[in-house]
């Protein structure tokens, strides 16, 4: 503190009045100092509030504008028709919605088992091992690698070899992105399972693998499902890894070996197009995508907030 009362022991003339009340022994500088601290405190509080408002405002703006634009563009045709040719009014994104579902199902079927198994290793077998620490660290780093790099990797690995774009390669790119998230949540959730119930199972002579599946994983299942849904919600909106793997398709396609339409891709293509009709569809698509993601995230919140696991630990 810059003002030291010991350096200024004799109160100035105007402070004499203050001295009559012994409880309030303050020099002018001390009063000024506490005034400054009071002001700074309130100023910072105000700034923190302001920044919160500034952060929440764009979210509200985006959501409101999205709902406004999206809801006015949604109609039945959006869910039932495939894209209309350029210049024609109407059309929908039915094939994109189905395509997204196919690619995501593919990604989940590959990413979820591997992610959960890796999480089981970290929590049940690797506690305290250097290898587990390294895997944990790698998973966190992998989580931060840009999605477009996953796209290039899947392209170089699958598309270049097959010489054509495919739904499968898109699924692989998204699966790689799901693994680290699921691994880390699974580990986190398994760590909350009390050791006493594992030991109870082992004490009854249940083999370890059986204990892991029937006791640990089952106890932690709500949390693990939460993690899987969060990972799913995250990759559901990914566009970059699909740009040159799933590639997009204007028509129906159900084959895993062919280019397939996906909702985020279609939104991107329509958003940067010069046609108003396509812009309208892009807004509708964005609304559908975001409702899908928000519903899963909110469900996760409700599910996780029930405290199934909080009591257990």
């Amino acid at each position: 503190m810059s003002v030291n009362p010991i350096q200024n022991p004799i109160p100035s003339a105007e402070d004499q009045g203050q001295l009559r009340t012994p409880m309030n022994f303050q020099t002018r500088r001390m009063r000024a100092n506490s005034m400054r601290r009071y002001v700074v405190n309130n100023l910072v509080t105000g700034l923190a509030m302001l920044s919160t408002v500034l952060v929440v405002a764009p979210l509200v703006a985006i959501l409101v504008y999205l709902i406004y634009k999206g809801a006015s563009s949604l109609n039945l045709a959006f869910f039932t028709q495939i894209p209309a040719p350029v210049g024609e009014v109407g059309g929908g994104m039915a094939n994109s919605i189905v395509g997204s579902a196919i690619v995501l199902a593919l990604a989940s079927s590959m990413g979820i088992p591997v992610g959960i198994a890796a999480g089981v290793y970290l929590a049940e077998y690797g506690r305290g091992k250097a290898l587990a620490m390294a895997i944990r660290f790698t998973a966190d780093v992998l989580n931060g690698i840009p999605s477009i790099v996953m796209g290039i990797a899947a392209y170089s690995l699958i598309v270049m070899r097959q010489m054509h774009f495919s739904a499968f390669s898109g699924g692989v790119a998204l699966a790689i992105m799901m693994v680290p998230t699921i691994t880390r949540t699974t580990e986190e959730m398994l760590a909350t399972v009390p050791h006493s119930i594992r030991e109870a199972a082992l004490g009854l002579g249940v083999p370890k693998w059986r204990t892991v599946i029937s006791v640990s994983l089952r106890t932690a299942s709500p949390g693990i499902i939460t993690g899987c849904m969060l990972a799913f919600a995250r990759v559901a909106g990914e566009t970059a890894p699909l740009l040159f793997t799933a590639f997009g398709n204007q028509f129906w396609s159900f084959k895993l070996n062919e280019p397939i339409a996906a909702l985020p891709l279609q939104i991107y293509v329509y958003a940067i197009s010069p046609y108003d009709e396509w812009h309208r569809l892009a807004w509708a698509g964005a609304l559908v995508l975001i409702v899908m993601i928000m519903v899963s995230v909110t469900l996760v919140r409700i599910y996780a907030g029930r405290g199934v696991l909080k009591g257990a630990s």
């Binding site: 405190n41 509080t45 700034l47 923190a48 509030m49 920044s51 919160t52 952060v55 764009p58 504008y65 634009k69 198994a117 890796a118 089981v120 290793y121 077998y125 305290g128 390294a134 895997i135 966190d140 992998l142 989580n143 931060g144 840009p146 999605s147 477009i148 790099v149 796209g151 290039i152 170089s156 270049m160 693994v179 680290p180 691994t183 880390r184 986190e188 760590a191 050791h195 082992l202 004490g203 009854l204 002579g205 249940v206 083999p207 059986r210 892991v212 995250r234 559901a236 990914e238 566009t239 970059a240 740009l243 958003a271 812009h279 807004w283 964005a286 993601i293 928000m294 995230v297 630990s313």
Partner: protein
């Protein structure tokens, strides 16, 4: 099971935490509790098979091995991405060498490639975005952990989490139709009037460009930085706060000396994590940055980032050299984000002691 006393989730004082590792008696033929229940119901063929064959040491070892393989696959993924990117970018690596990153030529027709404009665009947008996002994110984290009434805490952190859940392409869509016009008609001219003398706001302003991309990036990395910072600030023990308050500090002094000073390593980690996210962000940036390989002092000028050049030109790339140059850009992005993320994670872990990161 090897139980280590350092595991943060466990109370080391409980006897169970110090219990010796239990091994399932694999050779004994026993009836486990789970199987008794199963036999009371109609036993499924799978359960029957398991109860006869699943108790051997073989099953246990196989299971452990499978789990280990899945865990090792995370290493394999990272290694594999690296190897395949190096392999596919070999033509460009061989032709240009390191000068690829210092040359500003980008001419697909004559096959002359250099990544400098993209590196410039990436760094400029990311750093600008950080400059805008970090103070706000810190403000939100401080507000949420220290100042906010308990009733508001959950809704606001939920809102910021929603902000993180919005897909990149939707941010891009919003930016194209809302932010770009605002930038072109209101904010751009305003900035030119006030700060035009600095030279950063010169040239024609079409609404798309480095500044617009930075703003949308800032909005996108805000929730990441603020939620990690919040977690880190929550990890600071309450006794620290109480001690500082007991010395007569105001609330802000308590936050500054008791919380922020203790959490600073982790906060730096959170900021670097946000930087990593900003460097690799693709779709929203591609949609508003203007996509032109220029190095310009003006923030209104269109630019190009490493990620957006890949997104924009990859599927149209003809010729091996063009493609391998783009893949080399991807390789550079991969290596840079790995380094940035590793540093950030190490810093965040130093504070939270390896507790699993929150999922966004």
């Amino acid at each position: 099971m090897p139980v280590s006393a350092t595991t943060p989730q466990m109370d080391p004082s409980t006897p169970s935490a110090k219990a010796t590792p239990l091994q399932a008696p694999a050779i004994l033929n026993f009836v486990s509790a789970a199987e008794t229940v199963a036999e009371e119901r109609a036993p499924s063929p799978i359960r029957e098979y398991l109860s006869t064959c699943g108790n051997g040491a073989f099953a246990d070892r196989t299971f452990a091995t499978v789990m280990l393989i899945c865990a090792l696959s995370i290493f394999a993924i990272v290694l594999f991405i690296f190897i395949i990117l190096v392999a596919r970018s070999r033509p460009s690596l061989a032709q240009f060498g390191f000068s690829f990153f210092t040359r500003s030529a980008w001419d697909p027709v004559s096959g002359d490639f250099g990544a400098l404009p993209f590196i410039f665009g990436t760094l400029a947008t990311s750093l600008l975005a950080l400059a805008m996002a970090v103070p706000l994110a810190l403000g939100v984290a401080v507000f949420l952990t220290e100042l906010c009434p308990a009733k508001l805490r959950a809704p606001i952190s939920f809102l910021t989490e929603l902000l993180a859940a919005i897909p990149s392409v939707v941010y891009g869509l919003w930016a194209v139709f809302v932010l770009v016009p605002i930038m072109r008609d209101q904010l751009g001219p305003f900035l030119y009037k006030i700060l035009g003398w600095t030279g950063f706001f010169e040239g024609s302003n079409f609404g798309v460009g480095l500044l617009t991309a930075s703003i949308i990036l800032a909005i996108m990395i805000l929730p990441i930085i603020s939620s990690i910072t919040r977690d880190i600030m929550l990890a600071v023990p309450t006794s620290q706060r109480e001690a500082v308050l007991a010395l007569g500090a105001t609330r802000w002094e308590m936050i500054r000396t008791g919380v922020l000073r203790n959490a600073r390593i982790g906060i730096v980690g959170a900021i670097i994590l946000g930087l990593g996210r900003a460097l690799g962000e693709t779709m929203a940036v591609t949609m508003v940055i203007g996509n032109h390989p220029d190095i310009s002092k003006s923030l209104f000028a269109p630019g190009y980032t490493l990620a957006s050049v890949i997104a924009n030109e990859f599927s149209e790339a003809t010729g091996d050299m063009y493609l391998s140059a783009l893949i080399e850009i991807g390789l550079a992005l991969f290596i840079v984000t790995i380094i940035v993320n590793a540093i950030a994670r190490a810093l965040v872990w130093a504070v939270t002691r390896g507790a699993p990161a929150r999922v966004h």
